[in-house]
């Protein structure tokens, strides 16, 4: 019997390692729930961008919304912007990007979002957090009344999402939940 003990131990340890490794894996059902959560954050961001860009939004209100929008992002997140004529990426801190959006020199601005999105798989980073990318498309229309000029563009926004399992205490019990933060955003002007 004693000769089987090492074998049992090996099998036991192997199973234990597997279950530890699997405990942090994301099942298809969980992935779907995380996708929905990520999409909610992206929806919030899209709404905030529309408010910040709108010329009908008061300065103080726009600043308040910028604060809200910034809270969606992980620290140090950046926007990387390129256009059809300039493929090099221009980098902006998220706040700076919002401020530039607010200061655009148009009398009327309309920002809307296409009815399509794409969500990547979630990949695990070295630190154990998961990362994914949500792609959405935005239409921008700016009108200058004085010159009568009307500028339109459609941009593809590839938005990084960080997914992390967190814990909180509720009535003395530890509850685990998945949290989603937005990260760097790549903004590409489309030729469409």
């Amino acid at each position: 019997m004693t000769k089987y003990i090492p074998l049992f131990l090996i099998v036991f340890l192997a199973t234990a390692t597997l279950s530890i490794a699997q405990s942090d894996n994301i099942s298809p059902a969980r992935k779907q729930a995380i996708d929905s959560l990520a999409l909610e954050k992206v929806k919030d961001l899209s709404k905030y961008i529309s408010i910040i860009g709108s010329k009908e939004t008061q300065f103080s209100e726009a600043n308040r919304v910028m604060d809200r929008a910034e809270e969606l992002f992980a620290p140090d997140a950046e926007m990387g912007v390129s256009s059809i004529n300039r493929t090099e990426i221009a980098y902006y801190k998220v706040r700076r990007y919002f401020e530039r959006l607010m200061a655009l020199n148009y009398d009327r601005v309309n920002i809307s979002w296409y009815d399509i999105h794409y969500i990547s798989d979630l990949e695990r980073q070295p630190d154990g957090r998961y990362v994914g990318v949500v792609t959405v498309y935005q239409r921008f229309e700016g009108t200058s009344l004085e010159s009568g000029l009307n500028y339109k563009d459609t941009t593809k926004k590839d938005i990084t999402i960080y997914v992390e399992k967190k814990q909180t205490q509720i009535a003395g019990r530890t509850i685990e939940f998945w949290d989603v933060m937005l990260g760097d955003i790549r903004v590409t002007e489309t030729a469409a």
């Binding site: 709404k47 408010i51 090099e88 009815d115 399509i116 990949e123 070295p126």
Partner: protein
């Protein structure tokens, strides 16, 4: 009653600030199919190539799903994964490729985590006050609890110009009895010659990445921006293809195969040399 009306008015007024402009709000522009058709992410290229998602991309298929890696679906996807507007990949070559990838007995799939694919990134750096193009080669590697992209190689013209090992009669050397003189003639290599690399072993190859990192640490090389990204794939047996991003009107857009080569023995090394040496 007045209070209720006041509250309702406040809500309605605040709603009108942004009339239905968020994601999935009424009145949003409708995609006419171009964005749906576009291969929007490299991730989507993998999923389409392997038939691991629905036609519209809204549903991810997993093992056990009836359409997971479905042969017919894969065949449909493969036909839209080529750049059909600017690349010169013949239809015959595409068919041969599809036939081997979709082979009944031994279909081949792309694997995100496995070796056999890497990225080529064209970036702009400031080198000693001047803008210079730099080509970085990045690969995916396991690290810690997950994966990371790492810089594998770098190609930078100013470095290549520095190392030019002379050949034939132009090549300096240390004669075979130099050891008897305690290598006093090393002075020729290090002081009198401007090509000290002439005195290195046959197998010597300059390590540009180390020099690149050294120059960056010294402060003479500063990152500015990224210009272009593409990917090279060697994961399908006896085939090489290049993946590029196409941003143009129409349905044939996004991440598409722009170059396809059937590999004969020895071709892989020749192509790798071509890619890394930057022609």
């Amino acid at each position: 009653m007045r209070k209720i009306i006041l509250v309702l008015l406040t809500i309605i007024t605040s709603l009108q600030l942004v009339p239905g402009q968020g994601l999935y709000s009424p009145g949003q522009p409708k995609d006419d199919g171009r964005f749906a058709a576009s291969t929007k992410q490299v991730n989507q290229f993998f999923r389409r190539f392997n038939a691991e998602e629905s036609v519209d991309g809204s549903k991810r298929f997993y093992e056990g799903d009836p359409l997971f890696r479905d042969r017919q679906l894969r065949s449909q996807f493969l036909s839209i994964l080529f750049d059909n507007q600017t690349s010169s990949v013949s239809n015959d070559l595409k068919s041969e490729f599809a036939k081997e990838v979709l082979a009944q007995g031994l279909p081949q799939y792309l694997n995100f985590h496995k070796e056999g694919w890497f990225s080529e990134v064209n970036a702009i750096f400031n080198y000693k006050g001047k803008q210079e193009n730099v080509t970085l080669f990045l690969k995916l590697q396991p690290e810690g609890l997950g994966y990371e992209w790492v810089i594998d190689k770098v190609n930078f013209a100013p470095f290549k110009d520095i190392f030019n090992k002379p050949e034939g009669n132009d090549k300096g050397f240390l004669h075979p009895l130099s050891h008897e003189l305690g290598f006093m003639n090393l002075r020729r290599a290090f002081q009198d010659s401007n090509t000290p690399e002439a005195y290195t072993a046959k197998e010597y190859e300059p390590d540009y990445l180390t020099i690149f990192l050294y120059e960056m640490k010294k402060g003479s090389l500063k990152f500015e921006t990224i210009k272009n990204v593409k990917f090279h794939f060697f994961q399908i047996n006896n085939w090489y293809f290049e993946l590029n991003q196409f941003n143009r009107p129409g349905n044939n857009t996004g991440w598409l195969i722009s170059n396809l080569v059937r590999l004969k023995p020895g071709d892989k090394n020749a192509i790798l040399k071509y890619i890394y040496d930057q022609k």
